[in-house]
């Protein structure tokens, strides 16, 4: 039932602007792949091209290894959950969910049975007769999912499905979507601009920037081994520093920050100054200036945010933003500290 999706050098132009500038990727059947990137980078456009709502200007789109580039949205076996849900406001929940089945010629009672089943799957059993306007945001979202689900499409698309929900509901819904996808073995392409959401739900993430694919890989790879500064920055908060890097072998690089040299995994083209990203949560702050190999510094700003402390520390290598889980003994501004950097939190990203 599920099928893979493949893009081959797909370009989308709107007059003079190029929204998608030559994108190739393959989504494996039965997986959840996320398109991640800042606003305006072309995620929605890619998604709409999979759905057939936009025609590609160049390139080929394959679903289930069949070229569907020339097919319209109606003719593709793809369903979409819209950012605004796009529930038909003049139809009941049941009619909304039945809509696709009825259009494909399924008779009324069969359609209603399938629709009830789909509603059950998203946990909305008792709501069939309501109007969409009588539902909360989260419930509307589930109706939209059920409406797409009921057609058993080979590919399901989600365009920022959670952006209209509050933070708590967002977390719950994303878990439900992920759970549903795994239970039914759906192929899902999911668009979001929220890296946490992407990390939480995806089998694979495709990071986009300015109409191009920046990097494509498993969530952990992207977070821990970003290929570019853009990805490092986008996948999580990071400090951007310049530092000297020396190639040790195929996979290891020695990075010099201030006085200390740290060996990290990574590759560089040549020895010399390079861009280095440091994840704030991997910086350990020691209140006593100290151990060898640590980076001395001075706290310039300390902020209490409930679950942890956030510090800005001035060091020889530059200002570093660090997160410290210890909230019981906060350090005041002006305090001299020693920073130890865990190798896994140091990313060599520039050439």
């Amino acid at each position: 039932m599920s099928a893979g999706v493949e893009f081959r050098n797909v370009v989308k132009r709107y007059g003079a602007t190029t929204a998608v500038a030559g994108v190739s990727f393959a989504v494996a059947s039965g997986t959840l792949t996320t398109l991640l990137g800042p606003s305006g980078c072309g995620k929605t456009t890619v998604l709409r091209m999979i759905a057939g709502l936009e025609a590609a200007s160049e390139g080929a789109i394959l679903i289930d290894n069949e070229d569907v580039t020339a097919l319209s949205a109606t003719e593709r076996d793809v369903s979409m959950v819209f950012q605004s849900y796009a529930l038909f406001p003049h139809m009941s929940v049941l009619d909304n969910v039945c809509y696709g089945l009825r259009r494909s010629g399924v008779d009324k009672t069969t359609a209603a049975t399938s629709a009830q089943e789909a509603l059950q799957q998203v946990g909305l059993d008792g709501f069939a007769q309501r109007q969409p306007s009588e539902l909360s945001g989260g419930q509307q979202q589930r109706v939209a999912v059920a409406r797409a689900l009921v057609l058993r499409p080979s590919v399901m698309l989600f365009d920022e499905p959670l952006s209209n929900l509050d933070a708590r509901l967002r977390r719950q819904m994303r878990e439900e979507i992920r759970e549903l996808q795994q239970r039914l073995g759906l192929t899902v392409v999911y668009v979001t601009h929220d890296q946490q959401e992407a990390l939480a739900v995806s089998d694979r993430i495709i990071v986009m920037n300015r109409g191009r694919i920046e990097q494509d890989g498993a969530p952990r790879d992207l977070y821990e081994r970003p290929a570019t500064a853009f990805v490092a920055n986008f996948m999580g908060e990071s400090n951007r520093l310049r530092g000297a890097a020396r190639r040790l072998d195929e996979t290891r690089v020695a990075v010099t920050l201030g006085d200390s040299e740290i060996v990290v995994t990574g590759t560089i083209a040549a020895d010399g100054e390079t861009d280095i990203a440091v994840r704030p949560e991997t910086v350990t702050i020691d209140p006593a200036p100290g151990p060898a190999g640590s980076l001395p510094g001075r706290v310039v700003k300390a902020t209490y945010v409930g679950t942890h402390m956030e510090y800005t520390v001035e060091t020889a290598a530059g200002a570093l933003f660090a997160i410290c889980p210890r909230v019981d003994r906060p350090l005041a501004a002006g305090h001299a500290v020693a920073l130890s950097l865990a190798p896994r939190g140091i990313l060599v990203v520039g050439g």
Partner: protein, 738 residues
């Protein structure tokens, strides 16, 4: 899946065309096709022969190429090839077929070749052609259907045959029933009466003193109709704008309590035939009107015909078009942001300064727009000038007399129409530029919590002094019209009577049921029937066009939008002349039929449907359409199940407008009515011109009642949009970025 495959659709359309070509008479039938008297002569008689018979037995060689075109199209339905290849072939075939169809239809007419040079170069054609009949019509439809399928298969319009078909329908009908007739009549301005091209004639026709004379300024004669038209329109534009502004200010900026009553005023002219106001004025100021009678009785002043002329027409137009200006200006006045006015007041400006330096400048574009609307309404008006104009001729009446009177001079009518069209389009373009560059718009999505500043006292009093007596007088006019229907002879014998209503609407019961003996019944039923046929067609075509314009992406979208709006700016008189001239001769010989009246109604009023549809459709989030598409809904299913149900108000508006305007229009149809198909308005106008006021009044009142009933009925039938009380999901635009 239950859908017809594209190839089957191709075969079906081709077969329809072939059936029309082989089994049905090609030309129009004298007795109508439903008389079926043509069956016997389908092969043998040239008049009733089918297309095939015409080629084979009647020497109409020019029809021959259509047969292979249709056969080849049928073949396309059965051969292989890619979708795209088939599409291209079909587009070519249909294009060639349409070209041949029109070429022969336009060049061979009642007397053989239509143009002399064709006879000279090609010799006698050896046959004549009357208008196209059912057979030819089917062939034409089939070619258009094949063209749509071809375009869709080539991938145009998202490959959707329904969208392509809708597109072809809309474009073909606008070309056929608006662009073509208007161009025909305009070209006629360059032709001599026997059809030869003589551009110098246009200069002659346009440079007569009757059009351009300025002698009224020097006091020795009348001015030309062009000046009359322009002067009247300027006065009307200025007057209606001023009155409209006064009303708008009172309604929005004072605590005036009878706002609802004033709003009713805006509905009245929509459901009133345009000359009813003129009629009311005659009852007040005419020779036997109350004013003259009173002057005569009290002061012995002999009754005058004072009301007939500029004064009368001007007054009537002021009454008739002020509500339109009011509607335009109420939006403008409400659009001035109260916050700006409050800001002005915190900057030490008093109310009057604020009005003068902030509010009024902000309203300027809106005022100019209202002025142009009044201007355009005035030059297009026919009903009031014909009833009240007297010696004061304007272009629309002059065109009428050029065609209807003893003159029957289409060349002159065409030249005058050209002039009228030039005025109308000039004003139209000016207005579009104004509205298009409305950079002052102060309505925004942001909440504006300011309170409208009350008007300065002097201004308020002025507005009230202008507007309230005027409103009272309007009510009085309608009152007189109402009463006028119930007295014996207005001005002379005021005994109450029902005789006018009896004369118009008497019903007797005869041996075989009711006999409609009243004088008005004939035209009344014709009007109701034709308007009832036209209204749904108007709404359908208008909404279809709106849907294409708002929801489909295609090249030439803005051109199509412009064309539909443009046809609205063409004055009714011009359309009327154009229709009677163009459809008087083959190939579309429909003058004198009910069909031409229906077509005229539909294409005159369609732009209203387009506007209403576009406005309401752009409020429906596009992602609803897209959701339907990803849920396997075809374009027509999306239209039927999602878009239309959400557009009920627009449908009501289009239906009401289509019906009401069909009933009330005079200018266009005055050229098209016949004894057989007389319409209510033209019937009444003739009564008024003959001084038979009682009957005219009774009939007008009945019409107003009819339209109120129709509006209620349509509201009831189509009903309101059924949405839950809470708004639809947060209206985030479909393209909102991350």
């Amino acid at each position: 899946m239950s859908r017809a495959t594209p190839t089957r659709a191709v075969a079906a359309w081709a077969l329809i065309g072939l059936a029309g070509f082989v089994l049905l008479p090609w030309y129009a039938q004298q007795e109508g096709v439903l008389a079926f008297d043509w069956i016997g002569g389908l092969w043998s008689h040239a008049d009733s022969a089918s297309g095939l018979a015409l080629i084979a037995a009647h020497n109409r060689w020019w029809l021959a190429p259509l047969l292979p075109v249709l056969l080849a199209s049928l073949a396309v339905g059965f051969v292989g090839g890619t979708r795209r290849q088939r599409g291209t072939t079909l587009v070519w075939l249909a294009g060639i077929g349409l070209a041949i169809f029109w070429l022969q239809a336009l060049s061979i007419g009642l007397r053989g070749w239509n143009a002399e040079w064709l006879t000279l170069t090609l010799g006698e054609v050896g046959g004549r052609q009357v208008g196209i009949g059912i057979g030819a019509t089917l062939v034409l439809l089939s070619l258009l259907g094949l063209l749509s399928l071809g375009l869709a298969q080539r991938g145009a319009f998202g490959g959707d045959a329904f969208v392509a078909g809708a597109m072809v329908t809309v474009v073909a009908s606008i070309v056929l029933f608006t662009a073509w007739p208007v161009l025909r009549i305009l070209l006629q301005a360059f032709n001599s009466s026997d059809g030869t091209f003589a551009p110098a004639l246009l200069l002659d026709r346009l440079s007569t003193a009757k059009i351009w004379s300025l002698r009224c300024l020097t006091g020795d004669g009348r001015c030309g109709v062009a000046w009359n038209t322009l002067f009247l329109a300027l006065c009307c534009g200025a007057g209606t704008t001023m009155l409209g502004l006064a009303f708008a200010l009172i309604v929005t900026r004072t605590g005036f309590r009878m706002k609802r009553t004033l709003r009713v005023l805006t509905v009245l002219p929509i459901i009133t035939p345009p000359f009813v106001i003129g009629l009311g004025l005659i009852l007040v100021f005419g020779r036997s009107g109350v004013v003259n009678q009173a002057l005569d009785a009290w002061f012995g002043i002999a009754p005058t015909r004072w009301i007939y002329g500029f004064q009368g027409v001007f007054l009537a137009q002021l009454f008739a078009f002020t509500p339109v200006a009011f509607l335009v200006l109420i939006g403008v006045v409400e659009g001035v942001s109260p916050t700006l006015e409050e800001a002005s007041q915190t900057l030490r400006a008093d109310r009057w300064d604020t009005f003068r330096t902030v509010s009024l400048p902000l309203m300027k574009p809106g005022l100019a727009n209202a002025f142009l609307v009044g201007f355009i309404e005035s030059i297009a008006d026919f009903g009031n000038p014909i009833v009240l104009g007297g010696d004061y001729g304007v272009l629309s009446t002059e065109i009428y007399f050029a065609v209807v009177g003893a003159q029957l001079d289409y060349g002159r009518a065409a030249a005058l129409a050209l002039l009228l069209l030039a005025f109308a389009l000039g004003a139209f373009f000016l207005q579009r530029r104004l509205v298009g560059t409305r950079s002052y718009a102060t309505i925004s999505g942001k909440g504006d919590s300011g309170l409208p500043t009350p008007m300065p006292a002097g201004l308020r009093r002025l507005a009230q002094w202008i507007a309230l007596p005027w409103a009272g007088f309007t009510a009085l006019l309608y009152g007189f019209v109402l009463v006028g229907g119930f007295v014996k002879i207005w001005g002379r014998d005021h005994t109450p009577t029902l005789q006018h209503y009896a004369k118009a609407f008497a019903v007797e019961s005869g041996p075989n049921g009711l006999i409609w003996t009243g004088a008005a019944w004939g035209s009344f039923w014709t009007t109701v029937k034709l308007a009832a046929i036209a209204a749904p067609l108007t709404a359908l075509l208008g909404l279809l066009a709106a849907w294409l314009l708002v929801r489909q992406r295609f090249v030439g979208r803005s051109t199509l939008e412009f064309a539909t709006m443009l046809s609205f700016a063409v004055p009714g008189t011009v359309i009327g002349v154009a229709y009677v001239f163009t459809f008087n001769v083959p190939p579309l010989e429909i003058t004198g039929t009910a069909l031409i009246l229906v077509l005229c109604f539909v294409f005159r009023n369609m732009p209203v449907g387009v506007r209403a549809g576009m406005a309401s459709m752009s409020q429906i989030d596009r992602s609803l359409d897209e959701a339907s598409a990803t849920l396997r809904g075809r374009a027509w299913q999306t239209l039927a199940h999602v878009v239309l149900p959400l557009m009920r108000p627009a449908m009501v508006a289009a239906l009401v407008y289509g019906f009401v305007r069909a009933v009330t229009t005079v200018s266009a149809v005055v050229f098209l009515v016949t004894a057989e198909y007389e319409l209510a308005t033209t019937f009444i106008v003739l009564r008024v011109i003959n001084g038979d006021y009682g009957l005219a009044i009774a009939y007008s009142c009945a019409l107003i009642l009819l339209m109120l009933a129709a509006i209620l009925l349509i509201q009831l039938l189509v009903g309101q949009r059924r949405l839950g009380r809470r708004a639809a999901p947060a209206p985030i635009a479909a393209r909102a970025g991350a």
